[in-house]
């Protein structure tokens, strides 16, 4: 007979077996506070209990990796004694319940992950996913999420420099909000979340603790039901001003040399920070809750330990030097109080006015969390293999191109990114709307390129191949701007892992990412897993999102758009191959055929990598006037996008191909980059050296896009007509009634 009813245990989303494990670890029944602590630490969100086994397959080492997974963020050496910290995090569940605050606190959380390590955040990117915009609720969610990100990032003073935004019916009841952040610091000034030094004081800094966000982590680990809408108090409220103060105060306090370890209070708040810091250092932490600054009266120990109030940090200082730390926080007008100390017994001991309310070995909480090898069968694949009958649409190619340019996934996202401050800190060399964002590092001659990417359609058809294609695309984005991809972070958004066919999606996707990241030499340095993205039994498509960073020498960026007329247009990598089966995941299939079938495009990773090497050399030798990578919408869309520059330079393209016209124009085969150049000979030489094709497909020309095959005109349009569809579509979709 346990101390708690089955209902109480179930409410904490602990299974009977997990409860029994708690009892055996403690050697007794847990207290109510302890039950709460276990429930958050052993939640899917904090413990990765369903995914941990498979995450081990990811490559995490590399010569530039200073810190891999397991810390608040991964760290990469960028040379000249500087390093970058970066990670991606999801805030999917809160953003569905309260889009504005859910997204805002998502930004706040990932920013704290970065600056808790001592790095100053210098860039944010976001990859939201929404249901189609013909549903009013999806429009409201999008507007809320965008204004939440804008509110938090802009006020904090970090530029939002890129990302992507995709729409699919599977996100109707379950939008995704994945936010990536990156920060910079000196290599020898990295801070870790370790509670080292027995007797050192444990100090609480930042905002006061309230009742908000209690059980946020367990909420993020369950499916949505009708009742979830009642969980609004679980969503935290963000205060970007407080976060900005916290950033400045933490970085300044770190300079005193009195800080031993520091960790932000994110998911599972005070619980997670105390036990993880103790566990990492092999120490214990003892705190008294009466010392914790509180926003409300009458909070129970349970509530204080589980609160997810934002903008709080826990740090361990050198004993006797507390005042140096307090002085800095006082200057910034922030609360900083000693709430406990580091002990040598390895136990998280929580007191309330001296009375012990929880006493748990740190390691049991952090490292003894359940680990499940969940059964996985064949990935769930609700799509036919065979292609539907594709009627001849040669006469409609121009109309189809315009329709695709105006579709929600492909159209310009300017309406979104103009709400983000993309230029604060004056480091943005290439901002939103480019293949890869570029941030220069003022302190060195290096710039960081970064790309966020996902393709859930490909992953639904084949999670393994789809995931590899995503990694390839990110690396291609980076190479297109001349950067060498060096490291990655991933956000694995999936449905319910207790369903074997969903678990199979997760497993195959991780294995695909592992294989591709090993091949492209971009080790995973951290990330996030978001499971149970299901509403009323309806799961999302398998939606891994990759964030990959690359390094390049600082200099003016190569633009994406054509710059001058009468330049040769080369398709590096060649026209690619496609058949009806491999066409089923494309945007053409989605927008024009309204279908999803077959397999994702074929990826030859070896060839892909050679294309990356070739384009980097081309950009490095300044042989290209413009470069643009082919992705959603294939060559047709890439040609149009390259024509939408300020100088209105379009193209005249002449093919000699036997492929079906829609395959040629819109297939999404990888390993291809559009280049305009005044030096076609040199580009062909470089391509040959790397063993890749470089096909001349036409020349640039003023104000028109003309595409023909064997003298049959497919597209012949003024740029204005194409551009209008692309540029105004999102606003039109948002303002429909």
């Amino acid at each position: 007979m346990s101390a708690f009813s089955d209902d109480i245990i179930a409410l904490h989303q602990l299974t009977e077996g997990e409860y029994q494990k708690i009892v055996s670890l403690l050697g007794r029944e847990p207290t109510y506070t302890e039950l709460g602590i276990f429930s958050v630490m052993w939640s899917e969100h904090c413990s990765y209990k369903s995914s941990r086994l498979h995450l081990k397959k990811l490559p995490t080492r590399g010569k530039l990796v200073l810190q891999g997974p397991g810390e608040n963020a991964g760290i990469i050496d960028i040379g000249d004694d500087y390093a970058i910290a970066f990670k991606i995090e999801s805030h999917n569940h809160p953003s569905f319940i309260e889009p504005f605050q859910g997204a805002a606190t998502g930004v706040g959380g990932i920013l704290r992950d970065i600056f808790t390590m001592g790095a100053r955040p210098i860039a944010v990117m976001d990859a939201p996913r929404f249901g189609p915009l013909d549903v009013a609720r999806n429009r409201r969610i999008l507007e809320g999420v965008v204004s939440g990100i804008s509110h938090y990032g802009n006020c904090f003073g970090v530029p939002t420099v890129g990302g992507e935004c995709v729409f699919e019916p599977c996100y109707n009841g379950n939008p995704l909000v994945n936010v990536f952040a990156l920060g910079i610091f000196k290599k020898d000034e990295i801070f870790y979340g370790k509670a080292e030094g027995i007797g050192n004081p444990v100090i609480y800094v930042g905002a006061k603790t309230g009742r908000d966000g209690i059980h946020g982590a367990t909420m993020a680990s369950g499916e949505f039901t009708e009742e979830s809408k009642q969980k609004r108090p679980n969503v935290q409220v963000g205060d970007p001003f407080m976060e900005k103060l916290l950033l400045e105060a933490c970085l300044e306090a770190m300079q005193t040399g009195a800080i031993v370890g520091i960790q932000d209070m994110g998911a599972a708040g005070l619980t997670c920070s105390t036990c993880e810091m103790g566990s990492r250092a092999g120490t214990g932490v003892e705190i008294d809750l009466k010392l914790v600054p509180q926003r409300e009266t009458g909070m129970t120990p349970y509530e204080i330990m589980l609160s997810e109030s934002q903008e709080r940090m826990l740090l361990v200082a050198e004993r006797g030097r507390e005042d140096e730390v307090f002085q800095v926080f006082r200057k910034w007008g922030l609360d900083a109080v000693t709430v406990g100390s580091v002990t040598g017994d390895g136990i998280l001991r929580v007191k309330n006015h001296g009375e012990i309310v929880a006493e748990i070995p740190n390691r049991d909480l952090a490292d003894e969390a359940p680990l499940y090898d969940r059964p996985h069968t064949k990935p769930y694949r609700p799509a036919p293999y065979e292609a539907p009958l594709l009627p001849d649409r040669t006469a409609q190619l121009e109309a189809d191109l315009i329709a695709m340019l105006g579709s929600a996934d492909i159209c310009s996202k300017r309406w979104i990114w103009e709400q983000y401050d993309s230029t604060v800190r004056t480091n943005t060399v290439a901002g939103p709307g480019t293949d890869a964002a570029i941030i220069r590092i003022k302190e060195t001659g290096t710039s960081i390129a970064m790309s966020l990417d996902g393709n859930a359609r490909f992953c639904l058809l084949d999670p393994r191949e789809g995931s590899k294609l995503i990694v390839a695309e990110c690396c291609r984005n980076l190479s297109t701007v001349g950067a060498l991809p060096v490291a990655a972070t991933n956000n694995l958004n999936f449905g319910n892992p207790e369903r074997p066919e969903i678990m199979a999606q997760l497993v195959e996707s991780i294995e695909g990412i592992a294989e591709a990241c090993a091949f492209f030499e971009t080790p995973i340095t951290g990330g996030n897993v978001s499971l149970y993205n299901e509403t009323l039994g309806e799961g999302i498509f398998p939606s891994p999102v990759m964030g990959i960073v690359g390094l390049l020498r600082t200099g003016p960026p190569v633009p994406m758009q054509f710059q001058n007329s009468d330049r040769t247009i080369i398709l590096l990598g060649g026209l690619g191959r496609c058949d009806a089966i491999r066409f089923g995941g494309t945007q053409y299939a989605k927008v024009i055929v309204n279908g999803l079938w077959g397999l994702p495009p074929e990826l030859d990773m070896d060839y892909e990598k050679r294309v990356h090497g070739a384009i980097r050399q081309i950009v490095g030798e300044a042989m290209a006037e413009s470069t643009h990578d082919l992705s959603d919408g294939g060559l047709g869309v890439a040609l149009a996008e390259s024509s939408f520059g300020p100088s209105a330079i379009g193209a005249s393209i002449e093919f000699d191909s036997e492929l079906r016209p829609e395959f040629l124009l819109f297939h999404e085969g990888p390993s291809r980059i559009l280049v305009s150049t005044a030096h076609p000979e040199r580009i062909r030489e470089i391509a040959t050296e790397h063993g890749v094709q470089a096909v001349t497909i036409g020349v640039t020309m003023k104000e028109r896009l003309r595409i023909s095959n064997r003298s049959v005109t497919w597209v012949d349009s003024e740029l204005k007509a194409l551009r209008g569809s692309w540029e105004t579509s999102l606003e039109r979709l948002l303002h429909q009634s």
Partner: protein, 225 residues
């Protein structure tokens, strides 16, 4: 010359202004904390940078105007010192009554970040003397509350006194008469919503902000000689 850059809690373009002045214009610049009751001696100009002073949860700049340092900034201006408010700094100057009018929510209700073409309306100011009248410069805007409003008489007066420094050619926020930047009667205190410090280097995509900051440098140099 020596610039002072005021740092309010929540300022986030303070470092950008400092960087532009020191690295891209070769001037001296120092940060001044908001609780300073006095400015350092020998300053030639003070910049109130962009950001969200004190969070700006109330009207933008409404709390910063009470900041201890603002008394010192006022005295500095009263003595003829050059004061430049950029974005949030403009909002603070307006709230402090050092410039007329008000800055309210953008007409589209949304934050707007984009490069914006501006017409230089007058070169008779320490902040535009190096430009040419009618010159078009491109500077980024990045604000949610940059819609300049004032009563008709004030607007008429600004125009007849030649105190409108910049006008938007592509008004991003609904500002009355497309006003992007103004100067006080004494012509030593100016405010503008666009960010000249974000356009001072080829890598920033544009160098049109240099003409604004160089005007200040030239003006101070003339005063000194």
């Amino acid at each position: 010359m020596r610039f002072g850059v005021i740092v309010f809690p929540g300022s986030n373009c303070d470092h950008d202004a400092w960087y532009a002045l020191t690295h891209n214009l070769g001037q001296q610049a120092e940060f001044i904390w908001h609780d300073s009751l006095q400015l350092p001696a020998h300053l030639d100009a003070v910049i109130l940078p962009g950001g969200f002073s004190y969070g700006d949860y109330l009207r933008c700049g409404a709390i910063a105007r009470f900041s201890p340092v603002m008394g010192a900034v006022k005295r500095f201006a009263d003595e003829g010192g050059l004061v430049m408010g950029i974005c949030n700094g403009f909002q603070v100057l307006v709230e402090a009554g050092m410039l007329p009018g008000a800055l309210v929510r953008n007409k589209g209700l949304k934050f707007a970040c984009r490069p914006t073409p501006l017409l230089v309306e007058t070169i008779h100011s320490p902040f535009t003397s190096e430009a040419t009248k009618g010159q078009v410069i491109h500077l980024p805007v990045a604000h949610g509350e940059g819609c300049y409003v004032a009563d008709e008489r004030t607007l008429d007066e600004l125009e007849s006194d030649d105190r409108v420094l910049f006008r938007y050619l592509d008004n991003p926020n609904g500002s009355m008469r497309d006003i992007a930047g103004i100067i006080n009667k004494r012509r030593n205190v100016m405010g503008m919503m666009p960010h000249p410090e974000r356009a001072t280097e080829v890598l920033m995509g544009c160098t049109d902000g240099l003409v604004v900051l160089q005007s200040v440098v030239q003006f101070a140099a003339c005063l000194a000689s």
